[in-house]
């Protein structure tokens, strides 16, 4: 049993009782979400957590493992989403179309990532951060300008394959009091594919290839001296990350049945991903899992708490504004800065050192 688990997790165990507990809670809660938390909003939150775990994990492959900062990750996310959206909006809504759109989206994302990487990683990694920022914003503008293809600012609405529609029934009878309709099928599609992608990325980062990436992160010069072409490795890493991000975009597009600039390309999403990876813990896929979960939950439920706090302090002029629900990013931004300074290993690092201390003492 333990050997199977090791193989599934690519020999990268949580190494902390607390971390393992948190991960088990997250996975079980997501696996049983339709039964544990019925209702449209909570299912939506669960899907978002799944998709953003993939997105944050793929970003961690770049930021945490390879040590390069990209601001174009939402662009690849968007390419995946738009690939499926455009295919479904133009062609008949069946699985062949979904496969076609997915393939096209992933292929474009990989080619674009390779081009940007070869172009900018050759000179200096710091160029990469700036060039990806420029390219991503150009892409966002392009997507909203080419309204004939992308639907412009409004985005695209389309029909998904029949098995994913709300009217579809997998079983005639209810299971545990829940009707298994197309939405729940769609949820499980998202969940299973996300799980597979996360495990696949763990396989990548724990392979010899992943070790080279970490070597480049620690000392690019030395890695090059040993004989690894750092440009090639960095570019391949950014291609893999782009492919995974595009897959995450596909999943979100299938769930939302709508793809627009706000849901996939906006810079706010990029900021969210950055926060997830850094707060969760850079350089470990588990960090992305925890970070994405914490941030999505905060986004959806912290605002309610802040609204209450803002009401309570309505008399105090500045404080009420500081606690306004729309200002939740302010507090997470501060947390982000503190994390970079004081807890560069994020929540995962904290949990692991906590575990180490208790087992030593």
């Amino acid at each position: 049993m333990s050997a199977v688990l090791r193989a599934v997790l690519s020999d990268d165990l949580p190494r902390s009782r607390w971390l393992a507990a948190a991960l088990i809670v997250i996975v079980v809660a997501l696996a049983l979400a339709p039964f544990l938390f019925p209702g449209a909003k909570s299912l939506n939150v669960a899907v978002k957590i799944c998709v953003f775990i993939v997105l944050a994990a793929s970003y961690d492959l770049l930021l945490g493992y390879t040590g390069i900062v990209s601001f174009a990750h939402t662009m690849f996310f968007g390419i995946g989403g738009y690939g499926v959206a455009i295919a479904l909006a133009r062609l008949s809504p069946d699985w062949g179309t979904v496969a076609l759109g997915t393939l096209a989206g992933v292929a474009i994302a990989v080619v674009l990532a390779a081009l940007i990487g070869l172009f900018s990683l050759r000179v200096r990694t710091i160029f990469f951060a700036m060039i990806t920022l420029a390219v991503a914003s150009a892409f966002a503008i392009l997507a909203s300008q080419l309204s004939g293809i992308t639907g412009g600012e409004d985005g695209l609405n389309y029909r998904v394959p029949e098995a994913l529609r709300p009217a579809f029934r997998l079983f005639d009878a209810d299971v545990l009091g829940v009707t298994i309709n197309g939405r729940i099928v769609a949820y499980y599609l998202v969940f299973v594919v996300s799980l597979a992608l996360v495990l696949a990325m763990m396989r990548v980062v724990n392979s010899p290839f992943g070790r080279v990436l970490m070597a480049i992160r620690e000392n690019a010069f030395r890695a090059e001296a040993i004989g690894y072409r750092t440009v090639v490795y960095r570019t391949i890493a950014s291609c893999i990350a782009a492919a995974a991000a595009a897959m995450a975009g596909v999943l979100l597009a299938l769930w939302l049945r709508h793809t627009g600039p706000d849901t996939t390309l906006s810079f706010d999403l990029m900021v969210d991903i950055l926060l997830m990876v850094v707060i969760g813990g850079m350089g470990t896929i588990y960090g992305a899992v925890l970070g994405a979960t914490v941030l999505i939950l905060a986004q959806n439920y912290l605002q309610d708490a802040m609204a209450a706090a803002s009401q309570a302090t309505a008399g105090v002029p500045l404080l009420a504004n500081l606690l306004h629900p729309d200002r939740w990013l302010l507090w997470l931004g501060l947390l982000f800065i503190l994390c970079v300074y004081f807890f560069p290993t994020g929540i995962v690092g904290r949990l692991r050192s906590l575990g180490a201390r208790t087992s030593a003492g």
Partner: protein
Amino acid sequence: MTDASITDNPPPVQARRDIAPLLLVPALVIVSLPLVGSPASWLTLTVAGLAMGLMIFVMASGLTLTFGLMDVLNFGHGAFIAVGAFVAASVMLAMGPWMASDSLWLNLAAVAPAVLAAMALSGALGWGFERVIVKPVYGQHLKQILVTMGGLIVAEQLLKVVWGPDQITLTRPPALRGAFIIGDVAIEKYRVLAVAVGLVVFVAMQLVLSRTRIGLLVRAGVENSEMVEALGYRIRRVFVGVFVVGSALAGLGGALWALYQETVTAAIGAQVMVLIFIVIIIGGLGSVGGCFVGALLVGLVANYVGFLAPKVALGSNILLMALILLWRPQGLYPVAKR
């Protein structure tokens, strides 16, 4: 004897002055004339492009200098631009009657303190930013990018706390509205002002850098900061000074940009940052001259392409950057040590 032989040698830097990038700007202006067609709209577009380019230069110059001097890439630079824009907007709104008056001098008397206040506050914020956010992460690029990005997020949110989440609308004072009409050529008055301010900043910066002792230290620091420290100068202090001045210039640029756009939003900084990054990459990280040429190129290309093919306007800047990097992978004027 040895003294004489040293002074006889021509200074090596001036001997090989690289003018090819400088020729790009007039070349672009001339090539675009047949493309645009009518000389009147060509002249209007050229002035608009120069005005935009110089405003971007004012905002970008501080960023490129801090990078050249201390290898710090500040993603939070946009925050200073936004602060400048907001402060200038509030001061100008507070001076309502002077702004609305028809007299040029009263208008300028309202704009000048607004711009000064914007520069002072952005400069002060820059000082705080350097001390609190940037100082602990010298020499670590990854953390710099992350932390200054975090600073930008927090600053943007704080702006919304102080000034509210809605955009502020600003009308230009009457003296700066409208256009000079020469024949059938219309040149907006405000653009002329922006060109003038930009040129003044550029010339002043060049004079300070090439004629004063502090400029000498800054240039030496860009070349080799360790050697300057070894000679007994505290390069960190010079750096803080440059950072503050760069932030103040960003504030000035933000104020100019706010008057140009006539609206102010908290996202203004993040929007302009894209253009600024393109400019400093084109110019060569750390080079003021390159930044100037890059800014002019970006401003001109954006306006010409915006006229000829509006849909690909921002894409054109990316293309410009790609072409320049193919020609010179380190930017137009690469700074020697990197």
